[in-house]
Every structure is written in C-alpha cells, then in structure tokens.
C-alpha cells in the first residue's frame, strides 16, 4: 500500500486538477446541450466522478483518509439518486413516448 500511495503522490497535483476539470466541464456541457434524459444523467455521473477522483487525489496527497470517506458517501448517494432518477425517466417515457426533456413543459406559467 505504501508503495501505491507514494506512486500516486509522485504524480503532481496539477495533472489531477486539469484532468478532473476537463471531465467536469465535459459533464456540464453535456447537461447543458443534450436533450436526452439518459445522456443528461450520464453527464451528471461524469461530473460526480470528476469530483470523486479529485477528492481521492487530494486525500492521497495530504495523507488524510477523510477525503476517501467522502468519495464512498458520494458513490452511495449517486447510486440512490440514479435509482430514483431512472424511475422518473421511465414514468416520463410512458407518458410522452419520448426521452426529450423539453417535451415536459406542461407545468410552466
């Protein structure tokens, strides 16, 4: 384990930061531009994973396990959220026969 931690610490933090920011930005752009609900959910997962990775990286660099505990929490929450989200998506599909998120504008005004 010590070996693995020291290996991780060998990679400079900037690399993690740039990589995670890129993935996070891809997620944001995905949410903003795509209209398919499934893809939007996947983009949200991307953002969550970017943050998770960053937390793990910081945790390793500071030799503080608290960050990794957060990662586990986020993964558990993401799993629960996706379960609820997919249920909603299925209901939406049954009602509209479409996965286009903009088809749900009945509740405006």
């Amino acid at each position: 384990m010590d070996n693995m931690v020291s290996q991780l610490q060998g990679i400079p933090l900037q690399h993690y930061l740039i990589f995670c920011s890129t993935i996070f930005a891809i997620g944001v752009i995905g949410v903003l531009t795509r209209r398919n609900v499934i893809i939007i959910m996947m983009s949200i997962e991307l953002m969550l994973n970017a943050v998770n990775l960053l937390l793990a990286a910081f945790s390793a660099h500071h030799a503080d396990p608290a960050g990794q505990v957060f990662v586990f929490f986020i993964m558990a929450l993401a799993a629960a959220e996706v379960a609820v989200g997919l249920a909603i998506v299925i209901m939406v599909y049954r009602n509209t026969k479409s996965l286009d998120i903009d088809s749900l504008t009945k509740l405006r005004f």
Binding site: V28, D102, L104, R108
Partner: protein, 642 residues
C-alpha cells in the same frame, strides 16, 4: 330609610329591565302596572327620604345623607366612589322627578294605549327615570355625568320613538348631536377639576373652591365649561334649536323630559356648584346675559308659532332662560324655585296639549282647532290654570318664582329687569293666544274630527288635575317677605347655598319698590291677556287676518329668526364641504398610494412569471450562470482583499 337610598334608582332600573326584556310578551295592563308601580314606589321612598331631610333641617342640621355603594375608580391617590347624596336640593329634585314622573307614566298608560310600541315606550321612560335619579343623587361629578349622558340617550330614544318617520329620526339625531357639544364642555371641566382639585366629590371640589379668591382663572375656565354643558342640556343660546324639534317625540315625553326634568339638569348642576360660580363674576355675567337673551328670543319666536307643541317648546326654552337669568344674578333659590313651579305648570300644559291632540286625532295645528272648551271641559279648566300660572298672574305658582328672579335681576341691573319683563309680557300673550285659539271661537277642523271630539280618559285627566292643583298652590312654597311669607324654600335650601350667600351682598330691596315691580308685571301680564282676548276671541275674523298680516317682525318670528338656516349656512355646509374634500383626498391620494404599491408588485410578478418556461436546459443554464456568478464574486472579493 337612610341606608336604602340605592333602592330609589334601582326600582325604575328593574322596571326597565323587566319590561324591556319581555316587551313582546307582556299584556298592556302588566306593563302599565310595572311601569307606573316602580316609579310610584320610588316616589314613596323619595318622600320618606325627603321627610328625613326635612326633619333634620327643622332641628337645624344640614340635612345631608350620604351612602357609599362601592369604590368605583382608584388610581394612586385619585379616588372616585359610587356614592349617593341626599341633601335639601336633591331631595326636592327627587320629589319632582319621581312625582311628576309617576303622573306622566299614569297619563301615558292612556295616551300611548293604541301604540304598537307601548311596552318599549314604558321601558324607555323607566330607564329615563333611572338615569335622572342617578344625575340627581350622585355625590360626585362623575356619577352625575353618567346620569347626564343617560338622560341624553333616553331623550334621543324617545324623540325618535316613531323612528320610521325620517323627520322624527332627524330631530332625534339633532338633539343628540347638539347635546354632545355641551357634554364635551362637561367632560373637559371634569378633567380640569381632576387636575386642579384631585377629586370629583362635590364636598372636595366645592370645599377647596370656596377657599379660592374671586375671579380665579381656573374657576373661570371650569365654570364656563360647565355652563357650556348647561347650554346644551338646557337649550340655551346658541344650542337651543334642538328642543323645539324634540317635539317630534310623544307628548308625555315632551312633558317629562323636555319640560319638567332633563332640561333643568343644567340649572341643577349650576345650583349644585354654586360656590364656584359665585367666585367667577365673569361667568355669572355671561350666564345672566345668555339667560335673558334666550328668554326674550324664544318668547319672541313663540308669538307666532301655530303648532301647539312648538309654542310650548319655545315657551320652555324661554322659561329656562329665566332660570339662567336667576342663576346669573345670584338668585339660586329663585332659579330653583322656578324649576319647581315650571315643572308643575309646564308638565300640565304639555299634558293638556297632549289631551287636545288626543281628542283632535293627532292634529297639532292650532289654526284647525278652536271651540274645544265645551268638548274638553277638564282639559280647558286645567290648561287655563296652567296658562295663568305661566303668565305670572298672582296668586298662581309662576308669579312668585318669576317675580323673585325679576326682583334679583332688578337689583343686579335694571336692564335685565326690563328685558325680563318684556319676555314675561310676550309669555302672557302667546300663552293666552294658545289658549284662545284652541278653546274659544268656533271649530275650524274637519267634520270627522268634530264628531270624534271627546274628553280624555281618567288617567289623563287625573294627572292634569293633580298638576293643576300643584300649579295653583306651588307658589306658596316661597312667598317673599314683602307678601308676609316666610321664604320656606329659601330657608330649606339655605345650607346648599350657604357659602355663596356668605360671599355675596345680601339681597335688599325696600318693600315699596318690590310692590311696584310686582304690580307692573301683574298689570302688564293681565293687559297682554286682554289684548290676546280682543285679538283672538272678540273678533274671530280678525284672527285670520292677523295671521296673514306678515310684517317684518312677524316674518322673523314665524321663521324662528332663521337660526336653523344660519347654522346650516355657517356650520353644517362648511363642515360637509370639508368632509367631502377629505373624502376625495382619502379615495384618490391614500387609496391610490396603497393600491399603487400593490399594483406595481402584481405587474412585476406578471412579467417575471414568463421566466418559468418549463425547459429544463434553460433552468440548468441559469443555475450554472448563477454558480459562475457566485464564483466570480468570490474571486473578485479575494482580489480586492489582497
């Protein structure tokens, strides 16, 4: 009996509650029994109280009995207790209120017999008697003030008794509002007393007041304010126009409230506070001037009125003016004596007029009467006695009381005497005019009225006869020394006015002058009666002509000196104008502002609501924009911090 003063006002109150609560279920005879019975019982109790006071006076005491029921208000060192006081002054008022009150109750059982509001009428009358007794019995100004307001309320209720007639309701409103103006004066006077004397008890206030110097400014303010209150309640210039309008109420009400009792409350109150007034010479002058002016003006208006009750109403205003003249020249006993005799003969005259109206099927215009003497012999005889009494012809009651006031006025200022005499002459004229127009000559009404003419039933004539007897002998209560009398009333009342008597110059007029004054007024009164006789009986055709002879003076008198019109122009119209201006300001300015603010937010919400498109991507875009904005803000804030 002395421990049971509270029972006197309680009886009529119980009568009011009983009749008022069960007014829709009680038969007429039970209402009559309870209504009259409670007042009769109160009268008997009053007689017992009076005899106690009287026997105390006979052995040289002051005759004061007080009874404290409970402490009413207690704030730090300021105390007001609910206390009753019976002394010679209130003992006599008790007799007037309950005695004449009972007679008028008795009269009403017959007069109001056919009225659908029979029980309501009696409950109001009983309530009035209750409040009047509180006014009379209170041993401090606050209890007096409750009674004062209460009788005003009953007056309002009873003037507007036939409230379905708009004019009657208006008359009631007018009386109420005009009385409120006066009551404001009373209230402010009370506050001055609390501020200055720290108490409202008569004993405390008057005891402290008598140690003050004559002309003290505090006393001047208090007495002037109390007089304002008296002008409202007792219908003096400038607040007298409500009393003639008050004749809209049933006639027994006019007799009881608007002639015999409530309207004399102002005189009672001033007589009660006499020491404060004696120490304020300016107020005394004001009272005398207002009094004599009212006496003359009202008598002048009464000369040409054709409504039988209106004549009597103006006559009441005029007689009240005499009472105030008496107070103003320091003849406290004389003024109170006139209250007493006036209660007898004016109640008699009103009830007589009621009897006439009853016989004439609710006709009040004297031009349509005439020749009623044969059909209504008892009414005629008693009315004749009342007329002689009020005209001031000896030896009936009015002569003694009026002459005592005039004699004091002569000593104070001969001009008052001259004006007072002029008023007395007019009184004699219009009263005999009323008598002759109603009872002499030929009948001028319709045929159906003529066939209906009848003497009133016994409860009405009985009341008339008792009052007529009192009007005949009432003057004997206070026969002046010049006529070998003993001033019984003056001696009886002397403890009440003792402090004032000690301060003022003793009344002195040599007997020759006094005889002369009496002779002048008597002869003049008889002469006026003769002129009225010539004008309205001897030459009936001329009577019609006289009514059409409309000179300037006649017109002024007939139109009541245009006082109501003047008030309308000077006070009512500007106030109404002001009120409508304020209404406009309220509707346009205030409401506009408040509604405007509401409208701004409403339309803002209307506009912003369109942001709610339902497009999820748009929401997320805004969210991202918001997050970016917050981050930017944090970044800039950090830069600035560095």
């Amino acid at each position: 009996m002395n421990e049971l003063i509270w029972i006197v006002p309680l009886l009529p109150l119980l009568g009011f509650v009983f009749i008022g609560a069960l007014r829709n279920y009680l038969p007429h005879w039970l209402v009559s029994l309870v209504g009259c019975g409670t007042v009769l019982a109160a009268f008997i109790a009053s007689v017992a109280l009076f005899s106690n006071v009287y026997s105390a006076r006979m052995v040289g005491g002051t005759g004061e009995i007080t009874q404290e029921l409970f402490t009413w208000i207690s704030v730090s060192d300021f105390q007001v207790s609910f206390r009753f006081l019976v002394d010679p002054l209130s003992a006599i008022m008790l007799l007037i209120v309950t005695g004449i009150g009972f007679l008028i109750h008795l009269y009403s059982t017959s007069y109001m017999h056919k009225d659908p509001g029979f029980a309501k009428f009696f409950s109001y009358l009983n309530l009035f008697i209750f409040f009047m007794l509180l006014l009379v019995l209170g041993s401090n100004y606050l209890v007096m003030f409750i009674g004062w307001e209460g009788v005003g309320l009953c007056s309002y209720l009873l003037i507007g008794f036939w409230y379905k007639n708009t004019n009657y309701a208006k008359a009631a409103k007018k009386a109420f509002v005009m009385n409120r103006i006066g009551d404001l004066g009373f209230l402010i006077a009370l506050f001055f007393m609390i501020a200055h004397f720290g108490t409202l008890e008569f004993a405390g206030v008057l005891g402290q007041a008598k140690l003050m110097v004559s002309g003290d400014s505090t006393l001047l303010i208090i007495t002037l304010l109390l007089f304002v209150a008296a002008t409202g309640k007792s219908a003096q210039i400038p607040l007298f126009t409500w009393l003639p309008d008050a004749m809209a109420g049933p006639t027994p009400v006019s007799a009881l409230i608007h002639a015999a009792t409530m309207v004399t409350a102002g005189i009672y109150m001033i007589a009660r506070s006499n020491i404060m007034f004696t120490l304020s010479p300016i107020t005394m002058q004001v009272i005398a001037i207002i009094g004599v002016a009212t006496a003359v003006v009202a008598a002048f208006i009464a000369l040409t009125q054709n409504d039988i009750k209106k004549v009597l109403a103006y006559s009441t205003v005029s007689q009240l003016g005499y009472m105030f003249l008496g107070l103003g020249v320091g003849a406290f006993t004389g003024a109170f004596f006139h209250v007493l005799t006036h209660a007898f003969f004016k109640a008699l005259l009103f009830l007589g007029a009621g009897s006439v109206i009853h016989a004439m099927s609710d006709e009040q215009d004297m031009r349509k009467m005439g020749g009623l003497r044969k059909a209504l012999p008892v009414t005629f005889a008693t009315m004749l006695i009342g007329t002689i009494a009020i005209a001031g012809i000896p030896p009936f009651a009015g002569f003694f009381s009026k002459d005592e006031i005039l004699a004091y006025a002569f000593v104070e200022n001969p001009l008052f005497w001259v004006l007072g005499l002029a008023g007395a002459l007019m009184t004699a004229f219009y009263m005999f005019r009323l008598l002759f127009m109603t009872f002499s000559g030929s009948f001028r009404g319709t045929e159906s009225q003529k066939s209906h003419l009848h003497e009133s039933p016994w409860p009405m004539t009985a009341a008339l006869i008792v009052l007529a007897m009192l009007s005949v002998i009432g003057g004997a209560l206070n026969v002046p020394e010049a006529l070998h009398g003993h001033h019984w009333l003056a001696n009886f009342l002397s403890p009440v006015f003792a402090d004032s008597t000690a301060l003022s110059v003793p009344f002195s007029l040599d007997h020759t002058t006094e005889y002369l004054l009496m002779a002048v007024s008597t002869v003049a009164a008889i002469a006026m009666a003769a002129i009225a006789y010539r004008r309205y009986v001897k030459s009936t055709p001329r009577a019609e002509k006289a009514e059409q002879d409309r000179g300037l003076l006649y017109k002024l008198s007939y139109h009541k000196l245009y006082v109501d019109e003047t008030y309308e122009l000077l006070i009512t119209k500007p106030l109404n104008g002001l009120a409508s201006t304020f209404k406009k300001a309220d509707v346009k300015l205030v409401d506009g502002l408040v509604n405007g603010v509401g409208k701004v937010f409403l339309s803002a919400g209307n506009g912003i609501r369109h942001l709610q498109t339902g497009h999820v991507s748009f929401y997320i875009f805004m969210m991202v924009l918001g997050v970016a904005g917050i981050m930017l803000y944090g970044f800039i804030a950090q830069l600035i911090e560095r």
